[in-house]
């Protein structure tokens, strides 16, 4: 089946198998490999994207369900070649070790700061509870979120 999805502001089309996830379509069909594929069951958050502005795991959305909808991936955060403030904060804080979880964490953090520009530590913990970092770099990730919030 053919789906039409508005990704990071631009319309894209792809031919999909009916049972495939939005994550698979993004990575393998549409040329957006920023969202990472790990657990495929919504546990790890590394495929986090915004679907019509709502934070979701792309692995748990049927590609067909995204037909006609808006998706923002990590590739859509930077503007004019400049890192998004959340991305810059992750770089500055050293919140990236292997980097695999980073796209999902950056998207989840962006979503948090849009809803709550100056979150408490509890709010940060809650907002990022669906994103796993197996390098256990959580302390630096917290530093990055606090830094991004302080700069906004």
């Amino acid at each position: 089946m053919r789906i039409t999805v508005r990704i990071n502001g631009e319309e894209h089309q792809a031919d999909c198998w009916e049972g495939e996830s939005l994550l698979f379509a993004l990575r393998e069909k549409l040329g957006f490999p920023g969202s990472k594929n790990a657990c495929e069951q919504g546990e790890c958050g590394s495929c986090s994207v915004l679907l019509d502005g709502t934070l979701v795991c792309a692995c748990l959305v049927l590609a067909a369900q995204a037909d006609g909808h808006d998706v923002t991936t990590v590739e859509g955060l930077a503007e004019d070649g400049d890192l998004h403030p959340v991305q810059q904060a992750f770089v500055d804080a050293g919140a990236v070790q292997c980097g695999f979880c980073t796209p999902g964490l950056v998207v989840a953090t962006t979503d948090l700061l849009r809803r709550s520009p100056h979150p408490t530590d509890d709010e940060i913990r809650e907002a990022l509870s669906g994103n796993l970092c197996r390098c256990t770099g959580y302390a630096k990730i917290f530093d990055a979120v606090r830094a991004a919030a302080a700069r906004a």
Partner: protein, 260 residues
């Protein structure tokens, strides 16, 4: 595999009647796991995301109609927090923000897992499940709707369209045991309310939902009764013995909270 995407409830019911084996998908938090891991290959998937009639909630004559597509995030953050507080507490414990943004109350009931977090608080509040088909609409008490582990009373041509609750307004709470505060399938869970009666319902400790009712005067023995009503099993998340113990402890704590 075919994906059918109706845009109205009438169309959805007609498609379900034409394709009785079609697997409904709403938030996808369970169905997609089965697809991703090749555990299920349904011939037809019925995508309900575009059916507006299933969304949100409404009030009718003192009762609350929760659309089956109501998400846990909507229950957690909106005015429902004050109207169905135990359900809101349970919603906050579901998965992660990403999961709560997609997972729905209708999906939780349709999946009919013993660990379904929405089930104990809805049982305590006497919820009924609205099941619709081209033949009409009926309401089934939630206690009867779940017929076994991951089994429910839906006919093949029916969809869950809503859950009805008449909010009791009495003190109530939900508690859950798991290895961390997020992304946890309940080892055991419990909802308790204290109005004219004490009411409790347990999760992850019986194949079907259980409701325990006792007079308020029986508070001293209530926790023991609740633990006795459980029929837990040993599995990867916990043992039978631990579960029974944990339920009694939770029941004591929950009672203290709702009677305070």
């Amino acid at each position: 595999m075919d994906v059918l995407t109706p845009t109205t409830l009438d169309e959805a019911l007609r498609l379900k009647a034409e394709h009785p084996d079609a697997v409904p998908i709403q938030g996808g938090t369970d169905v997609m796991v089965a697809l991703n891991f090749d555990r299920e290959r349904p011939a037809v998937v019925l995508n309900l995301n575009e059916v507006r009639e299933l969304r949100g909630f409404s009030r009718e004559n003192g009762s609350l109609r929760l659309g089956s597509a109501l998400t846990f995030a909507e229950i957690e953050h909106g005015e429902l927090r004050d109207i169905v507080p135990a359900l809101a507490e349970a919603s906050r414990t579901v998965g992660s923000p990403q999961i709560r943004n997609r997972g729905t109350v209708g999906g939780n009931l349709g999946m009919a897992s013993p660990a379904g977090d929405a089930i104990p608080p809805l049982v305590v509040e006497g919820a009924e499940v609205e099941c619709a088909s081209v033949r009409g609409t009926r309401r089934v008490p939630l206690l009867e709707f779940v017929t076994g582990v991951k089994r429910n009373a839906l006919e093949q041509d029916e969809l869950i369209t809503a859950v009805w609750v008449t909010p009791s307004g009495v003190p109530q709470t939900f508690m859950k045991v798991g290895p961390r505060n997020a992304m946890v399938i309940a080892v055991v869970s419990l909802a308790v309310s204290a109005g004219d009666q004490l009411r409790a319902s347990i999760g992850s400790a019986s194949p079907r939902p259980v409701l325990v009712v006792a007079p308020r005067d029986d508070a001293a023995t209530f926790a023991e009764r609740v633990a006795g009503a459980a029929s837990p099993i040993d599995d990867v998340r916990g043992t039978e013995r631990y579960r029974r113990h944990a339920i009694r402890v939770l029941a004591e704590r929950a009672l203290k909270r709702v009677l305070a």
